[in-house]
Amino acid sequence: MTTTVIYGTRATGIPGASTDRGGLWLSFADFERATGWEWKPRGVCLGEICVPIPPRKQWIDERAGADRPRRVRGVPWAASRRGRRARRLGFRSCDVAGGTAQRRGPRLHASRSRGEHALPHRLSREKGAPLLLGLLARLPPRPAGLAGHLRGDPGQGVRHPRHRVGHRGRSRRPRVHPPRGGWRHAATDPGHHGAGTRSSRSGPACRRIRA
């Protein structure tokens, strides 16, 4: 049985994967092929980021190292319910947090629209020029009877990502902490959209090991 492992934007079919004991078990070779991480003497590495693996361990599952929560617990996974044959390893939290710590935008790949054709495009091609990254959604034409579906959709969204809405749609009162250096004035801050909140979750989640 072939298991599809989804990591980032790649989906890899792994014929020899085991789903024993509720986990996904991959050989190191398959793990490297599916994720791009490389097996090195000091652990599995992706660039400068390494996760130590106990010596002589033959197999790795995506939840390995749960006793090292700062290193690999940031890799969540989900499996299809039918046969558990499609697995997806989440982006490492360091893809986001590490990038944030360095204040660098993650490397992005997307399709460049040209008429009806989509061409591969890397945002890194735009390096050297200031970039405003705007995100817009396009919905298909609204057919009759769709109003119920979209009721309550803010549409041209305005809710700040930090303004969490609690479960069952109830708004939570934001906890407000002043940032270092004080608040910016609403009249001059272009991104101001009400009171900001700070989560205690912020901060780098991955440790970088330099060779």
Partner: protein, 160 residues
């Protein structure tokens, strides 16, 4: 036909990496690839909520507020383009870090379910995809990215 690059993020990678949950959202990135301003609403407000859903008219106050916010945002953007890091709107690195949060485990799991759902749907298994898309919405109810995509993918009429 636009003369600038238009990118289609078929896998919602940008939203996942930057923690974007709604649109329109903008990020400022300088020439060195550093984030100058993290994801934020691009000069918009909740004014649309006051819109009359029958006539699609907005109260004058809300329309004026929208206009004011857009002007502030565009002026700030022009100021950054002209002055670069010396612009008062270019945030300090500490403030950028402060404004950006790492995803919680629940949010990362929501992203994961969403990706599995999208993959299953692309593989021609819409019934298998639906629970994952629903779980993504449940885990991250504030994400209209998930919500809209789940609606579109779950309705054959829309998907067609």
């Amino acid at each position: 036909m636009p003369t600038y690059p238009c990118l289609i993020d078929c896998d919602h990678v940008v939203a996942e990496l930057y923690g974007v949950v709604n649109v329109p959202t903008a990020v400022w990135i300088d020439e060195a690839g550093r984030i100058v301003r993290p994801p934020e609403p691009a000069g918009v407000s909740d004014g649309f909520r006051t819109m009359n859903t029958t006539t699609f008219e907005m109260p004058a106050e809300a329309a004026a507020d929208n206009k004011r916010r857009r002007r502030i945002y565009v002026d700030a953007l022009r100021d950054w383009i002209a002055k670069g890091a010396k612009s008062e709107h270019a945030l300090l690195p500490e403030e950028v870090r402060w404004r950006m949060a790492s995803p919680t485990r629940s949010e990362a799991l929501a992203d994961t379910h969403f990706r599995v759902g999208a993959h299953l749907h692309r593989s021609g298994k819409p019934d298998a995809a639906r629970p994952h898309l629903e779980e993504a919405v449940r885990l991250r109810p504030e994400s209209w990215s998930f919500r809209r995509q789940a609606i579109v993918l779950s309705d054959p009429a829309l998907f067609a």
